[in-house]
Every structure is written in structure tokens, then in C-alpha cells.
Symmetry: C2
Subunit: 143 residues, 2 copies
């Protein structure tokens, strides 16, 4: 089991959630993934750890992780893929539409500028989703 899996479990436990087999499996799967996964993909991988897991529980666990701030939902096209996220600060996602890898980026200048704009507009931000969709460096159309 990954160290970060234990960290998240401990935090969930302290928030009053029970650490069940299915939850452990789902968390482990998401942390191990190199790219964002759909709920169905998470289910398939989780079943290799705990064969009995059900799809509804995958959705429920995603909700828990989202509510506790350990997971973001990122969309590619109409499909709802998911992604772990450690960052709490303003950052953005480069989503490769070919390999589905999600790269997280940050920029202080970017953040400062955005904050200033929000203040000017009198807008109180609660959350953000900054997604740039295209091709990552590895997936450029060769030519």
C-alpha cells in the first residue's frame, strides 16, 4: 500500500469515515494511476484488489474523496474522468485528449493576475476549473 493511501485513510478516519476494503482499493487505484480514469476504469482496477467491489461504491467513494478535497473531476469531451489532486492552490490542468494524461501547472503571475481581476469584478471565487485541452508533448502529431 502506498504511503499516501495511508495518509488519506487516516484523514478520512479522523473525519468519521470508516476505512473499508472497497474504499482502500479505490484510493489505491486512483493514486497509482498515471492518467485520469473513468469510474468504470476505476472499478475494473479496484476489482483486482478487492473482487467484490460494486460500481455504486466507486461513485460513492469518488464523492467522499471529492468532498474531502482529495479528488477533482476533470472532463474530456462529454465523459467524466477523475483525477487525484494534491494541490489546494490555484492551478490549471493541461489535458491531453489523446493519452488523457493530466498535467497540473501553477504560476504565481497567473494567480496574481486572476485574483486582481476577480477583485475588480466583485466576484467571490469558491472553486475553479482551468482546463486547457489539446495534445501533450509526447502526443504531438508527428511530421
Amino acid at each position: 500500500m502506498l504511503k499516501r493511501t495511508r495518509d488519506i485513510q487516516k484523514a478520512l478516519s479522523e473525519s468519521g469515515y470508516r476505512i473499508t476494503q472497497p474504499r482502500q482499493a479505490v484510493i489505491e487505484v486512483i493514486l497509482r494511476a498515471r492518467r485520469s480514469l473513468s469510474p468504470e476504469e476505476i472499478l475494473a482496477r479496484a476489482r483486482k484488489i478487492d473482487p467484490g467491489v460494486g460500481l455504486a461504491t466507486v461513485y460513492r467513494t469518488l464523492d467522499v474523496l471529492h468532498a474531502e478535497g482529495y479528488l477533482e473531476r476533470v472532463r474530456i469531451g462529454n465523459k467524466g474522468y477523475t483525477l487525484t489532486c494534491t494541490e489546494k492552490t490555484l492551478h490549471f490542468h493541461l489535458i491531453c485528449e489523446r493519452c488523457r494524461t493530466v498535467t497540473e501547472l501553477q504560476s504565481d503571475r497567473f494567480s496574481r493576475d486572476l485574483m486582481a481581476q476577480l477583485r475588480a469584478a466583485g466576484f467571490e471565487a469558491r472553486k475553479h476549473a482551468i482546463e486547457i485541452i489539446g495534445r501533450c508533448a509526447k502526443c504531438q502529431p508527428s511530421e
Copy 2:
């Protein structure tokens, strides 16, 4: 009929689309709206102009407008609301989760910075969705 409705109709017509009653109604509804609307809301309003319009046609017209660059889909929560958009350049959306108003903002500094980051990452951007979710100036919790 709004002038901009006629402009869009003319452009669609020149692209080979037929200017039908339902399409006219949907375009007019979206342009008149002060906030983003769901497909169901668009249907309800379009039926006040042309009572026979069907839901499938609303979806189809949204697809056409999207394909022709006259409309963006913006999500609030899980629901897919829609919005007209004139801007072609990099810009972002301030989405009020209370009144659903979508404000479009732009910033040259922001754009330049983002472009630089993308270049550094070797990422080829095709489209973007920059959404800040929260409360607009009018919807601040009083006090």
C-alpha cells in the same frame, strides 16, 4: 427579432444550413437570455415563440451553433448549461452558482503568461475552459 439573430442566421445560411422556425426560435431565446440556460429551459422559452419545437431539435440546434462557434457549453455542477459567446480569444468565465450569470473576462497579461507556460510544457492547446465558480457581485451573502 434581434439584429444579432439575423446576423447569425445569415452566416448559418451561407454555411449551407436552412433557416427553420425552430432554429430561429432557439437562437432568439439564447441571445435574449440574461444568463446561461439549460436545454430544457431553452425549450420552454422557444415554445413561446414556436409552440411545436421539440427537445431533440433544441439539442441539434445547440450542436450547430457550437460547431459554428456561436455557443459555448459551460457547466455548473453536473448540469450542462449553455451560453452564447462572441469571443474567440482566450478568456474565462466567472460563473455565479446562485443566479447562474456567466461573466466573460479577458486579460492580455493572463493570456501571455498562459501561452508561455504552454510553450514551455510543449503542449499544443486546441481549446480551453477556464471557469471560476462562486458568487457574483450581486449575489454576495449579505453582511
